[in-house]
Amino acid sequence: MLDWKMDFTWEILPRLLLAAGNTMLAAGGGYAVAVVLGLVFALAQRTRSRTLTFIVRELVEFIRSTPLLLQIFFIFYVGPQFGLRLSPWAAGLIAIGLHYAAYLSEVYRGGIENVPKGQWEAARAINLSTVTTYRRIIIPQALPPALAGMGNYLVGIFKDTPMLSVIGVAELMHTANSIGAENFRYLEPYTIVGLIFLAISLPTAWLIRRFETALRRKMGLTR
């Protein structure tokens, strides 16, 4: 029957918690890349340059239509052939950041397109520049409705970090595998990994919802 060993659990827990730190670092770092790059992708598709819009649009489509795992492999193993020699961490953050940037750009686009046309017109009527209009008028209003989608992808990126184990990033999954292989015991490490993921995902999703509500209220967007 279920053969759960408490002393083994206590023995491996510190190592797994340390790896959980790496997982969060990978998720956070990748997300930071995605948040910024996603905005660049979204705005690039709104410029007047048809060529730029086309290129970025196709790039986003391409990234969204191919598996993340393939992208990770490609950047890490094929990259060196193009002179792109990256550490597992760097390759992992770029791959995961790029992947989620493509998804986030769609979230941003939706948020930006949601801002009424009258806001653009009012900004022009007081002669704001395009950059100032985005920075001060459009993006602040696009943000609250985009937050739910952004939060989903934060949890998503967190859950996708185990894929980085394939190129040797010592995150949770990678560490659990090692522990399992070293001790021929998989029940405890995998169970703990699952619980750690739950323990982080659930409060994160809840915090994001709270944050969204608070932000709307602070910005005066609700009555």
């Binding site: 017109e121 022009r124 009527a125 007081i126 520049s129 005066g220």
Partner: protein
């Protein structure tokens, strides 16, 4: 257009000079949406300090006149001048060419506009709405911008609501803040696009009252599109009646409203007056 644009533009002056330069001039301005001609060779001068009201049935192009002047719409032919300078075009090597973004921004700074649906920035307070342009565009310090904004909020009777977000304000209050926001940019020309159309009847007077005050106090040039014939009669120097993208008839309120010459004008006025 089939004929050469450059040749076409050579008949327009590079700038307006002389004694009686109008604050706004539409010279032979045409606007099309696809095959639909919204404005057809419009010629309209508005003198400095003049209050001109545009009335007419919906779809007659009256709002388009204001939107073109605010550069929210491009024009298909003709030239618009503001304060003697071309707005839609600019001088390059002694001839007029299409204005670039920098030129549009420069001339546009003389124009302010209020909209039917106010279009206040919902994430900023009343005061925040009024200091945004002065700080970001005119480069005023926060203190200067706030002083000026408070004067204007006071002028429109909204100083006590300075810290409220638009969602907390009634329509009439929002429109008054919007007027203060536009005035904070110190425009020479103010455009009012059906500013009372979205308001409940009982609050219309708070907005018309503010506009009436502007006529009395400032030497502002104003262009207004409205359905309120009574208000237009009271404050306008001149009323233009638009029909099918053209000025059908224009004149002083008394001339146009009491003694319309044109049959279509008479029909429109009797229809509107009946509705009121």
């Amino acid at each position: 257009m089939k004929h050469d644009k450059r040749h076409d533009l050579s008949q327009y002056p590079l700038r307006l000079e002389g004694d009686n330069v109008p604050m706004v001039r539409f010279q032979n301005v045409t606007k099309r949406y696809g095959s639909l001609t919204v404005l057809d060779g419009l010629n309209l001068d508005v003198a400095e300090g003049e209050m001109v009201t545009i009335i007419g049935p919906s779809g007659s192009g009256k709002t388009t006149v204001l939107r073109m002047l605010m550069t929210l719409e491009t024009i298909d032919s003709g030239v618009i001048y503001v304060d003697g300078e071309p707005l839609t075009h600019m001088e390059k090597n002694g001839r007029l060419v299409r204005a670039n973004a920098a030129h549009l921004r420069l001339i546009r700074s003389k124009i302010g506009m209020c909209f039917q649906h106010f279009n206040l920035f919902p994430h900023m307070t009343a005061l925040g709405n009024c200091i945004e342009g002065p700080m970001q565009v005119l480069g005023l310090s926060k203190q200067e911008a706030e002083e000026r904004a408070l004067e204007l909020l006071d002028l429109v009777g909204m100083a006590d609501k300075r810290d409220q977000h638009p969602s907390r304000l009634s329509g009439g209050q929002q429109q008054r803040v919007a007027i203060a926001r536009a005035l904070a940019m110190r425009p020479k020309v103010m455009l009012f696009d059906e500013v009372t159309s979205a308001l409940d009847p009982e609050v219309i007077s708070e907005v018309t009252g503010v506009i009436r005050g502007l006529v009395d106090q400032h030497n502002l040039t104003m262009l207004m599109v409205t359905h309120q014939i009574g208000f237009a009669r009271e404050i306008s120097d001149r009323i233009c009646l638009f029909f099918d993208g053209k000025i059908e008839e224009q004149g002083s309120p008394e001339m146009l409203l009491d003694n319309p010459q044109n049959e279509r004008t008479q029909q429109f006025l009797s229809a509107v007056l009946e509705a009121n």
